[in-house]
């Protein structure tokens, strides 16, 4: 027992106090800053780049920085989630502040129903275990998402929404549909990671079935490959208008 207390004392506090302004190392690749000029579109294995004007689709981007040049830079801003797919496409000369203003608009009814408690069911539909590990990390003692009343449930019957990771394989499509139908209304759907948003690195696979994305309303898009826990938690806090 004494050893346990000693160990706890040795470890000290590990939780991030202010999760909305948590510092992150400068090496993190987050919100892209794009200038005018000529870029090489073909360097991106995900077709996330386009020209006239220069654009990066964060819904496809894995933030590998292969395209990094004088024109494209990646800032260590991690609040890159959005409530609409169009907002994820970053045009040249767009600043992070501009993006942040329009990215996530909390809806009154959502805030009213879910801001005190949000229980989510996660479905991995072809995910590589990267986003899954980061979602698990959201719950650990460092990030401690549970303090805001946001948790993951074991069954869709107890959930207020779905978090989908992975490009949605053919073999998982029916299970995902089942899970959606089993979740009681009102519910929200969150896509976590480049694979879920656009198929990501697997967009050319012939074993995907992405009908689900077209069929249902998506409430929140969380880019990253894999998503960073701070990106995920902050997206939910903004969406529910929770002030930490």
């Amino acid at each position: 027992m004494l050893d346990t207390i000693k160990l706890k004392y040795y470890q000290g506090d590990k939780y991030i106090k202010d999760i909305q302004n948590a510092p992150i190392k400068d090496s993190f690749r987050g919100f892209p800053i794009i200038k005018e000029g000529e870029i090489d579109v073909s360097c991106c294995p995900l077709n996330a780049l386009s020209t006239n004007p220069n654009k990066i689709d964060m819904g496809k981007c894995t933030f590998c920085a292969k395209c990094k040049s004088e024109i494209i830079q990646f800032s260590p801003k991690y609040k890159i989630s959005s409530a609409s797919r169009e907002n994820l496409i970053i045009k040249e000369n767009m600043t992070f502040e501009e993006f942040e203003k329009t990215a996530i608009k909390a809806r009154k009814e959502i805030k009213k129903i879910f801001s005190k408690s949000l229980k989510l069911r996660q479905v991995s539909a072809g995910g590589c275990n990267g986003c899954e590990m980061e979602l698990n990390a959201c719950l650990n003692a460092n990030f401690d998402m549970g303090r805001f009343g946001i948790e993951f449930t074991a069954s869709p019957r107890h959930a207020d929404g779905l978090v989908i990771t992975g490009p949605i394989t053919k073999n998982m499509a029916y299970a995902l549909e089942d899970c959606y139908q089993s979740t009681p209304n009102p519910k929200i759907v969150i896509l976590a990671g480049a694979c879920a948003i656009s198929g990501g690195i697997f967009q050319n696979s012939d074993m995907l079935n992405r009908e689900f994305i077209e069929k249902y309303n998506i409430d929140l898009y969380i880019p990253g490959c894999p998503i960073h826990p701070l990106t995920f938690i902050n997206a939910l806090l903004d969406y529910l208008e929770i002030k930490a």
Binding site: S27, N129, G130, C131, N142, P167, N171, M207
Partner: protein
């Protein structure tokens, strides 16, 4: 015997691979007594060529041969009865090329199996079935488990996978590093290294020692991070929450350092064909050393508390036991095999000079239960930290470039690239065609061999111990489903 003998990451002429008959293959497998690491087909005009890759772990050599199936041959006598470790390989070959292994004891679909899967049925009084999945209670990948139980006791567990199938091998015909590291997102460095080293061997690209060292530092950091995470998860599954929390936050230290090096917590984007993208300077090296010292101290303290606690030990000891004989016949590899006293570690077996220079001692455990796998992880963390410290010292006096431009791929070549990820050996076989294009890319994850071990491990255990057994293996779904 007609086999071509080569080494890890050594290019050979694909056309020089001999062709033998299936009966000769059976005789050779009996005589050679080697471990199959590759058993896959390739369409060759109207014929199908079956490549067989065997590992000679004692000598660090790889034996390759092939069998040609004419279009009129639609079956052969299954090899699984004589060599049970081939059971998954033969199922995979059947699924891909529709050439039936006759009298295969378990010819069920491997990946394309969502409808009418022929589950085993058990009948009798008090027997009940428990179906779990594909969506699990926790945040993990999908897979279906079917338990046959009497009361609490598990008689048999049948595992049906395939939900993650993304046809990665086809996508890898136009490969890039981002795709390679997304095949299995918890072994980012392992997969990326296996791919990159294979491509470098195929293109005769020599990369600097510095890049090699940085890759191995990342590989060992990945091993440390996942092992610590798993020790935490094992603690969590036996309701020792102190351990779960301590290990989870300790893992964060390792992966946050990884973020500092490479910009990603799992080292995505670190490795490219031709070298690495991020350097480790002296300042970063000392940061890593300080971090590892702290990690080691916490892991020591927490593991020692747990190894003394009767409540922890009694949950782990004799839970999920796999005997050495079972593991050997199933062809178990990697950490799971080492927990059953099978000394397989491709870092040392295939003589990776960066490791063998310092040590060739494989970490082993004897008992094959959850306790063994817990203790083995603890041992391997300590070993990996030692290796990283050696590598960091070597980096200090090395001023080489970290990246070179890779050459073009050679035509008509074959390479086997093996990397010891934290689960075990990750085997990539790459074949190029006349125009230097990749015509076949074959991936074998250690989980491909080890999933059946989990089935054997849970027999005669309480069903409530299944999560604990499962976590102690922590096998990959997407690595197996591809």
């Amino acid at each position: 015997m007609n086999w071509i003998i080569t080494e890890n990451n050594k290019k050979i002429d694909a056309l020089s691979i001999p062709t033998i008959t299936i009966e000769e293959l059976r005789e050779d497998l009996k005589a050679l007594k080697l471990r199959p690491i590759g058993f896959f087909g390739k369409q060759e005009f109207e014929n199908v060529r079956l490549y067989v890759v065997l590992a000679d772990d004692k000598k660090g050599k790889i034996h390759i041969s092939s069998v040609l199936f004419k279009p009129d041959v639609k079956s052969y006598n299954s090899l699984t009865k004589d060599f049970p470790q081939l059971h998954n390989f033969e199922r995979e070959f059947y699924e891909d090329f529709k050439i039936e292994p006759k009298n295969h004891p378990w010819l069920k679909p491997l990946r394309n199996n969502q409808k009418d899967y022929p589950f085993f049925v058990m009948q009798g009084e008090d027997i009940h079935e428990v179906a779990v999945g594909p969506i699990h209670a926790g945040i993990i990948e999908p897979g279906h488990f079917r338990f046959m139980c009497q009361g609490e006791k598990i008689y048999n567990l049948e595992i049906m996978l395939g939900y993650q199938h993304r046809n990665v091998e086809k996508l890898m015909l136009n490969p890039n590093n981002r795709l390679a590291e997304s095949i299995c997102g918890d072994s980012v460095v392992g997969y990326n290294m296996a791919f990159s080293e294979g491509m470098e061997a195929l293109s005769d690209t020599v990369i600097s020692k510095r890049a090699c060292l940085i890759r191995r530092i990342a590989l060992e950091m990945e091993r440390i991070a996942i092992h610590i995470g798993d020790m935490g998860a094992i603690s969590g599954d036996m309701a020792y929450l102190m351990g779960a929390n301590v290990f989870a936050t300790t893992r964060t230290l390792v992966i946050n350092t990884m973020l500092e090096i490479s910009g990603s917590r799992f080292a995505r984007g670190l490795i490219d064909v031709g070298g690495v993208n991020f350097d480790i300077d002296n300042e970063m090296a000392s940061k890593i050393k300080t971090m590892l010292n702290e990690v080691l101290e916490i892991v020591h303290r927490c593991a020692k508390i747990m190894l003394k606690k009767p409540s922890c030990i009694s949950r782990m000891e004799q839970t999920g036991t796999v005997s050495k004989e079972t593991a050997l016949s199933l062809g178990a590899v990697g950490m799971a095999a080492r927990s059953c006293a099978i000394g397989l570690d491709s870092r040392f077996d295939f003589k990776d000079k960066y490791y063998t220079k310092y040590s060739t001692a494989k970490k082993l455990e004897e008992t094959g239960d959850v306790f063994a796998r817990f203790k083995l992880r603890y041992k391997e963390i300590i070993q990996s930290i030692q290796f990283i410290n050696y590598f960091l010292d070597e980096l200090k006096n090395n001023k080489e470039e970290i990246k070179t431009t890779p050459n073009d791929l050679s035509a008509n070549s074959f390479v086997v690239s093996i990397t010891e990820g934290w689960r075990g050996e990750i085997v990539h076989c790459i074949i190029t065609g006349v125009n230097s294009e990749i015509i076949r890319y074959k991936i074998k994850d250690p989980s491909f061999n080890n999933w059946y071990m989990l089935s054997m491990a849970v027999r005669n255990n309480g069903i409530s111990d299944f999560p604990l057994c499962n976590k102690s293996f922590n096998l990959s779904y997407c690595g197996c489903d591809l």
